[in-house]
């Protein structure tokens, strides 16, 4: 993937570039808003990673301008500001996701991957299918290999999120934010316990395990079982 990173802190910028390049991405690095804006307008990127606090033109301004010019590239905001207001502002300016510093690199990578392969907005699905798993979003029913699986509402949402991000690593924080709308870090292992319950319902008694744990990062639902 071709990724534009707009980050004024040299060390963070270099760290991001190194990490992303190690994972096979092509990275352009801009150290301020104006350079970033120029690159974003001139080249086609798959994902943009934008720091919110930039000298000169700040991250919000960059993304607003880019969106105003009709560029649809997904944007991930990086920030030290983690309040609701800041997040809302970022999303309203045209950002697609938000990551608060300090972050683990695995978290960033998972979010970048999720953004890059986000399905087009217009596509409305009522049934999700993956391997031998079938999820009816309207009837709220789940079947695997023809056998009906009974899920709690929150488990249903968890599975839906995993299926929508099939074959991508989904981090604990992503799950907390998207499934429970928790914007803090619980001390209790609530994600782990929910995933293990879901696993016991979805995977137990079947040959292939769909939900796998990615050590140090999170979970991944395998499409090719």
């Amino acid at each position: 993937m071709k990724i534009l990173v707009i980050e004024d802190d040299n060390e963070t910028g270099a760290y991001l570039r190194r990490g992303l390049e190690e994972h096979g991405h092509v990275v352009d690095l801009a150290a301020n808003g104006r350079d970033g804006l120029f690159l974003a307008a001139a080249e086609a990127y798959d994902v943009m990673i934008v720091d919110r606090m930039l000298p000169g033109l700040d991250g919000l301004g960059v993304v607003k301008t880019v969106r105003g010019a009709g560029v649809r590239t997904p944007v991930l905001f990086l920030t030290t500001l983690g309040g609701v207001g800041d997040r809302v502002e970022g999303l309203e300016a045209g950002g697609d996701d938000y990551l608060v510093k300090p972050f683990a690199f695995a978290e960033l990578l998972a979010r970048v991957n999720a953004l890059a392969r986000r399905p087009p907005m217009a596509q409305i699905e009522t049934v999700l299918k993956i391997a031998d798993l079938e999820m009816d979003l309207i009837g709220r029913k789940v079947r695997r290999a023809g056998r009906e699986i009974d899920l709690q509402p929150r488990e249903f949402r968890l599975l839906e999120y995993l299926i929508r991000n099939a074959d991508r690593v989904v981090t604990r924080t992503m799950l907390l934010e998207n499934v429970w709308e928790f914007h803090f870090d619980p001390k209790t292992n609530i994600v782990e316990t929910h995933v293990s319950r879901l696993r016991s319902k979805v995977d137990k008694g079947f040959e292939a395990e769909l939900i796998e744990t990615v050590r140090g990062s999170g979970y991944r639902l395998r499409a090719a079982a």
């Binding site: 609701v84 207001g85 619980p186 782990e192 316990t193």
Partner: protein, 461 residues
């Protein structure tokens, strides 16, 4: 210096303005009295002369100079002086010195010595009329006494003015000094505080006047500032103390790894441990920042109706499996449809914190209950209760402080910020958080403001 500071002060200027007003009033009053008295006295004399002239004129027309003689002898008090002159103005009878030839009113001063024969010895007012026979008749009266009255009036007013100036200046100085003393007292206190004595407060006179009220307000402000400073000092101490331990552990671990680790695996293990410690530190910092941010109150501007029932239900659902896995029970008794204005994200974190506390600090087998209801006055009451060991009454206040941890919790994970954060969130919502003895166990009760909306009570548990 002292005089300069008095003359420059507000008190002196006020006093000077008041004194000037008093003096101008005395002047206006004096001038009014003076001209009224003068006018009244002169009017009286003119009236007397006119009446005498009206009496005498017909007699002189009839009897000529003889009438004048008779009149002079009759006027024993010698109030008036008379003169009769020929049409040309030549003396015929009466006082020779009264030599006025022009008809009408005349005021003149008698020459020295001339008037010695009569009690006229200064200013004289004369009315001269031409009779039908053509003779000139003059009637005069002494008005020197009016001058005397005027003089004494002027003297009195001058004295009044002088005394007024002295009194006004004196009073002004006293007022200025009194004000200055009060202001000086405030300034001295402020200077002492600037110099570092934060315990100083402005002394009250007990009179309850404006200065006392100002002093009470200022003292309250100083108390508030001192409280905040104390809080800040406490937090700085706590941070220094509570962050040093994990930092030291982190350093120790890294040092150990460098000295002893031989294999990639053992390095990896050491790095993982270090990352764990660093994450813990970052979490503590973000909790502190979050508390500070919440305490600043800015988020209140973004308050929206929050479905408390739904928020609590979400938390219970999220923690149920974890509670069960850890051998505890999480029970919910939540009245549906209770809505209050607030910040959903913070309310969720608040309840999650309390539930986590109850799950972390109680033995296996404990029941934790989350409940929500409205009380008769319309407030929403949320409670998280457990039947664990509880918190001793003496420590219930202290656990709300940052970094405070019960002796028995020192070994369990946590940073001692959970309840401080909960307290800050409740405060932001203008609610009240209280800890009670659940006999046995702990009951944390949160009273929110009046419920803004209750919709259909669907059964929910």
């Amino acid at each position: 210096m002292r005089l300069r500071s008095i003359t420059m002060g507000t008190g002196f200027r006020l006093a000077a303005v008041a004194a000037t007003i008093v003096l101008v009033s005395i002047l206006i009053l004096g001038f009014g009295i003076y001209s009224t008295v003068k006018g009244a006295l002169e009017g009286q004399v003119r009236g007397g002369i006119e009446r005498d002239m009206a009496d005498l004129a017909p007699l002189v027309e009839q009897a000529g100079a003889a009438a004048l003689q008779t009149r002079s002898t009759q006027d024993l008090q010698r109030r008036f002086a008379y003169r009769l002159a020929s049409p040309e103005g030549n003396y015929l009878s009466g006082e020779r010195w009264l030599d006025i030839r022009k008809p009408g009113w005349t005021e003149f001063e008698t020459a020295d010595g001339v008037a010695r024969e009569v009690p006229f010895d200064g200013d004289v007012l004369v009315l001269t009329e031409r009779l039908r026979s053509g003779l000139l008749l003059s009637v005069a009266s002494d008005i020197t006494w009016i001058d005397g009255v005027e003089d004494s009036l002027l003297t009195q007013f001058t004295w009044a003015l002088l005394i007024g100036i002295v009194l006004a200046l004196g009073a002004g100085a006293l007022i200025a000094q009194a004000l200055l003393r009060r202001v000086d007292a405030v300034a001295r206190t402020a200077n002492a505080i600037i110099a570092g004595d934060l315990s100083r407060r402005i002394a009250l006179t007990g009179s309850g006047d404006d200065f006392d009220r100002l002093a009470i307000t200022l003292n309250a402000m100083l108390d508030r500032i001192a409280g905040l400073m104390e809080n800040l000092r406490q937090v700085s101490n706590d941070i220094a103390h509570d962050l040093r331990t994990p930092l030291a552990r982190l350093r120790q671990g890294l040092e150990d790894a460098r000295a002893r680790a031989r294999t990639t695996d053992s390095y990896q293990e050491a790095v993982d441990r270090a990352i764990g410690e660093a994450d813990g530190l970052l979490q503590t910092f973000s909790a502190l920042l979050r508390i500070a941010q919440i305490e600043a109150g800015a988020r209140r501007a973004a308050f929206r109706p929050v479905d408390l029932s739904d928020a609590l239900q979400t938390v219970v659902e999220a923690y149920e499996p974890a509670a069960e896995d850890s051998g505890r029970r999480l029970i919910a008794t939540i009245t549906a449809g209770i809505v209050v204005p607030g910040d959903r994200e913070l309310v969720v974190q608040l309840i999650a914190n309390l539930v986590e506390n109850a799950l972390c600090h109680t033995p296996v087998g404990t029941d934790v209950a989350v409940s929500l209801s409205t009380d008769p006055d319309g407030s929403a009451i949320a409670a998280v209760t457990d039947n664990g060991p509880g918190i001793p009454a003496s420590e219930r206040e202290a656990v709300l402080r940052r970094f405070y941890r019960l002796e028995r919790s020192r070994t369990t994970p946590g940073n001692g910020l959970g309840l401080s954060l909960a307290a800050a969130v409740v405060d932001l919502h203008r609610g009240a958080l209280s800890l009670h003895d659940n006999q046995p166990g702990l009951k944390v009760e949160i009273r929110f403001g009046p419920v803004s909306h209750v919709h259909s009570a669907r059964g929910c548990s």
